[in-house]
């Protein structure tokens, strides 16, 4: 590294030190994040993660250096994920939590031509602040059902103008900006994270919380069903167990037509309903 400038050496040194002193090291892409949102991000991360923006080449060198010095060859694979304007995000946070935090910290941003949208973009039905003009024709040309109503441009129904991943055209960017719809997101895009010999990619890190909730509920149901069905009482299930035993007894007694205080209503009720249903099928002159 003789030909490398002194400040670069120092920077690599510093980056490697950061990497070595944190269990979780992530690469994020800060390209296209303006200075203001970036400083807001830093604020959000303060105390939780250390963000260091640097040159991609220096980050690569620092990762390799840290991997060698730590004796962790898997860490070096992180360099494969360097792209855009990379930065190092070092933390103690579990990579899944880190990813969640980054996603939650993203803020909406105005449309820019040539950029793909992260999710479906909907132009909602209803009045817009726009006054009548050529904009109506421009919207209609893009398939947005616009009309003049009470002196304002009004959208007739919710319209999906872009699907997730589709690229914003200049015409659409113009309309979306006029409507004040912000289809983009500004924030730190996680490229990959390393912890304990494992590289986590965003596909792995994007967990579906809904699914976990469903699993929790299912697991609880299993426990509930097991407890009640085998009559193993717990504080949560003793009532259900008693009720089940009672209902079983009642059902059997009702089926057998064995009248007790508890079953008289059901048995007579059933007999009466049968009589009623039969009566309904009889000619009227037969009824009282």
């Amino acid at each position: 590294m003789a030909h490398v400038a002194e400040w670069k050496k120092k920077e690599v040194e510093r980056l490697a030190e950061i990497i070595k002193s944190h269990p979780v090291v992530a690469l994020v892409d800060v390209a296209g994040v303006p200075a203001y949102p970036l400083s807001k991000m830093r604020e959000k991360l303060r105390g939780k993660a250390l963000l260091r923006v640097s040159r991609n080449t220096l980050i690569e060198l620092a990762i390799k250096k840290a991997a060698k010095e730590l004796g962790k060859p898997e860490l070096e694979k992180l360099v494969d994920y360097i792209q855009g304007g990379a930065a190092i995000l070092a933390t103690e946070m579990n990579p899944f939590k880190l990813y969640k935090l980054l996603e939650e910290s993203k803020t909406p941003a105005p449309a820019k031509p040539g950029v793909p949208v992260p999710r479906d973009v909907v132009v909602p039905a209803g009045p817009t602040p726009l006054s009548p003009g050529p904009v109506v024709g421009e919207m209609q040309a893009l398939g947005i059902p616009a009309r003049i109503e009470r002196g304002k441009v009004t959208i007739q129904k919710d319209t999906v103008v872009l699907k997730a991943g589709e690229i914003i055209t200049p015409q659409l960017a113009n309309i979306l900006n006029k409507l004040g719809i912000e289809p983009l997101e500004v924030g730190l895009n996680l490229l990959a994270a390393y912890e304990d010999g494992i590289i986590y990619t965003p596909e792995v890190l994007a967990i579906d919380e809904e699914e976990y909730i469903n699993m929790l509920q299912q697991a609880y149901m299993h426990a509930f069903n097991l407890s009640v069905n085998i009559a193993y009482p717990t504080a949560q299930t003793i009532e259900a167990i008693i009720q089940k035993a009672f209902l079983n007894a009642k059902s059997v007694a009702v089926e057998a037509g064995y009248i007790t205080k508890e079953t008289a209503g059901d048995i007579f009720g059933k007999a009466f309903r049968v009589a009623l249903l039969i009566a309904q099928q009889l000619p009227e002159e037969l009824l009282d």
Partner: protein
């Protein structure tokens, strides 16, 4: 409703629902049977599947709030 109950009693007892049988049961219950109604009932019940009706009337006994799997 006496006539219907009488018919259902016969049915539950495994007896045919005929005019005589109905008459006998009703009289035993102290009801003076009306010939015309008995005839009409027997005629009307022809073609009614009583077992099916009973099935329909049988309702689950009670409800407990409980989770299914």
């Amino acid at each position: 409703m006496e006539y219907v109950y009488a018919a259902l009693l016969l049915h539950a007892a495994g007896k045919e629902i005929t005019e005589e049988n109905l008459k006998a049961v009703l009289e035993a219950a102290g009801v003076t049977p009306d010939e015309a109604r008995i005839k009409a009932l027997v005629a009307a019940l022809e073609g009614v599947n009583i077992d099916e009706v009973i099935e329909k009337a049988a309702m689950p006994v009670a409800v407990a709030a409980a989770p299914a799997a």
